[in-house]
Symmetry: D2
Subunit: 296 residues, 4 copies
């Protein structure tokens, strides 16, 4: 598909459109208690979209407003785990709208914990649990789906058992080697499944494995700890083929207290904002097939 | 103190200066475990400050950089509860620097929870606990101090037992009365003490009372629930003279699913961002003396 | 007004409620061009509000939803300058709703500039102008009003003509004196009027005076520059009685390049995030009457 | 490269690491005036990195702290246009550090405008210009480089000449067709060059073309306007091979004022936050070679 713009020939490449950040809250009301799903849903569709770009003809466009309505209408029938909900939505968009041949649905879930009152869990009062979020990313295309689960904004910190030494020294190096430092990060992890699983259990296990590996690992580099976390995740669940991790190194600098006649053996730190280290890797099961599009 | 600027006479009014958001992390290392204080400290000083404003003569200025250094140096000797740390800092600035006669120290503490590994609490690995923060605000002036403790960004939500009806109807009213709605808010509460207490225990009790009152209260208005929370706090601790609360009403709107042939009896909601209701009040013990400056 | 809670007597203190951050955009359509007002309006009302706090009886409550509707309905009749719009809204709430005896209306306006196309200003295409905002704060109470105008998030920076020396040295001082540094800040300024003026002209003049004074002033301290800015504002407009300024000192630290064999005479800086200095003052016309409530 | 973790075989996939958000400000001091470059630099390196992930051996690691130092040291020799600075940094990392074979350098530049004082541009006082930022993304690998320039957070708005009708109606569609609406967006655009150009002039021209096309275009869909903007950019500069655009549709909803006896013919709008439409596309010169990695 090509159009002439002046003396040049311009073509439309990859494109997608949809509704971002639909803030859908679903309450499930049992006789003795309520449950809560607090979601942020983004759908992005693609297909036969030349005309809308070239001429503004919207005949192939399912409006983003309709996508939003669909999220709420589908939520009425129950949400379940976010992976299931994303799959239901993605299949619907592709299978029921002719010009749409690909759907990408991304969901962030904000976890809530039940409050206690009168010595027992309250039936319908909640408090935001943690500052992290559960995520998923689903692609659906020509009858086949990919599912990536994840967690983000997971703030963890170790006060010791983190070292950093033996690195390259060049003319711009001033950093001193250290055998003991704070290791603080905000984990973003995503893992790709090769089969449908018990999503709730898989997520709970994955979160636990990531946290336990972080806690147990004696770190010689952020990369090493990150790789151990990804490897442990693959080891723990046979349906996980690939893990992507992004770990900012949130620097905690030891404050020099010598001018005030005080030592500071890793006791008082300045938590710095920027710049920060940024360490990213993919960890893969050896026999896993590549699936680049699943991550886009 | 007056200067002439052109034909007018201009005078200096209230003023203060200091270092904002000193991100100080203090690790306490016991033989078997580490503990963590993650603080954001702001000090604002005032005193005989005419000259620095008029002529730029800094002879009465304790640099904000020095205030920052002081936070770190004092942290080396131990932090304790944030109210204690703020009091130590405030007293120091006023008592050791002649031109300074008033110090305001505000501290936000980010809570962390110990991670689990191998079936028991880990000695030095932590995870950010909740998304709320503990706060304090201390004023120190001429040998007398005021202490306000607090909590902020405490996200809570009830899926029922919230009503809103019987309000004024004027020509701009379109809102329908409701006998059942979601009540979601992000509590900011501060409470003023009339005596030094066990700050850790007082804070833990206050947080529990606020949450339990929110959970238990059948709400006819946000004001009523907020007043109940403040009243319960005053009732629960004799040293608390005054409570200030600020509760945004984070609207969750029932989505109209009728166009899709579905009912929606408070099951599917749109969590809206803006605008939001904002409800604020002071609740006071009847015999409490006024202390306006403590809150500034 | 007192209620008994257990053995204590708890009373309701100052309170207010309203709708925050109504994002109202008003387009005015002339034959040859459109004009745009992009507003963020917050109304907070107070009055006879005991019952709603005590019993949840909403008979004295004008719902925050109605306040929002009123903003949009009033905008239909034209916005004008934000001070005028805030006054109209505040008067309406107090004069037309019996239990309401005080209204506080705060407006932030996001400025937009007309785009150019075909060599002339476009009639209805705009681009966000600057990163600052115009503000106002109006109180209306028993037939009398106060009006404060302002500007916020006004990022300015001087690469020289800023010094800092001659300050107090105590045991925690490590800062070196400097006769040349970057002065970078994000101005928040508010000014109180004693009479109604041409709000558009007054705002434009005030913004110009603040920026020119910042540019021209050779700074020996942030306080001195801030006071000069406030003094110039009072000097420039007889109806301005009082100015409040808040200036973060956004530190730009000279990077030590000596380890790399390079000098750095105030050429390369690290722009730091936190902590930052914070300098605040009120500057008043000598004969101005106090008006503390106008600022609340 | 494979390691055995338990009974599984885990392999390291794509990985990179570096220093994110180095906030480097460079002042250039001429006799009569100063100039200012305000940068946010992120470098991400990759190469022979198996060992650091597997064993924590840092022998191939150029510390992120060194990368930060390099940014500041190189800035001392002058920054020039951000594309030049990114290229210099990227080449340096790859050519001077054996295990590094790929560098990705991303720079955001915050524009500042010279203040006016005494009727002329001030030599060294500045004000933040606009709320948008200039960006670039450079990859350097085995002697070959790719350069992408861009602009982000460019808020623009049209009050008319935007329509949306003729779209698919399914069972979840409730949106009414419109022949007149507000079109508000926050443009992120990136364009890939096939040759080195006068970066300053290219950027200025690109910004102008994007803004003028937005202003002039009568929009039947966001896609159509976006494609016109990308096409015009390719048309305008022969060295631009590919453009990627991401346009949120920042909804401005007409407020229903009928309950208040007022019409509202596109005059009063609610500027909504979430959800928002999200429209993305790549526009390519017909004969352009693919260069997927340049965008990663």
């Amino acid at each position: 598909m090509t159009i002439v713009v002046g003396s040049n020939r311009v073509v439309l490449g990859a494109n997608r459109y949809g509704k971002a950040e639909v803030r859908c809250v679903r309450v499930t009301k049992h006789a003795d208690r309520h449950e809560l799903s607090d979601l942020n849903v983004t759908s992005l569709l693609s297909g036969e979209m030349e005309e809308v770009h070239l001429s503004g003809d919207n005949a192939h466009i399912l409006p983003t407003d309709t996508q939003k309505n669909t999220v709420y209408a589908f939520a009425r029938d129950g949400v379940g785990e976010i992976e299931e909900f994303a799959l239901r939505l993605a299949r619907h968009f592709v299978e029921n709208t002719d010009p749409i041949n690909h759907a990408r649905v991304e969901i962030t879930e904000y976890p809530w914990a039940r409050l206690e009152a009168d010595g027992r869990p309250h039936p319908y009062a909640f408090m935001r649990q943690g500052s992290y979020e559960r995520t998923c990313l689903v692609h659906y295309d020509a009858g086949s789906a990919s599912v990536i689960s994840g967690i983000t904004n997971l703030a963890v910190l170790k006060t010791t058992e983190s070292e950093f030494w033996g690195y390259i020294n060049d003319e711009y190096t001033t950093l001193a080697e250290t055998y003991d430092r704070i290791f603080a990060t905000m984990v973003t992890a995503q893992w790709r499944h090769t089969a449908e699983v018990d999503w709730a259990r898989s997520y709970a296990d994955a979160k636990r494995v990531l946290l336990e590996t972080f806690a147990r690992h004696h770190s010689l580099s952020v990369q090493q700890t990150m790789y151990a976390m990804g490897g442990a995740l693959i080891e723990s669940q046979p349906e996980i083929a690939e893990v992507r991790l992004s770990l900012p190194n949130k620097h905690h600098f030891v404050v020099d207290l010598a001018p005030f006649g005080k030592d500071n053996d890793n006791l008082v730190f300045h938590a710095d904002d920027r710049p920060y280290g940024l360490i990213e890797a993919t960890v893969t099961r050896e026999d896993a097939e590549a699936a680049a599009r699943a991550w886009e």
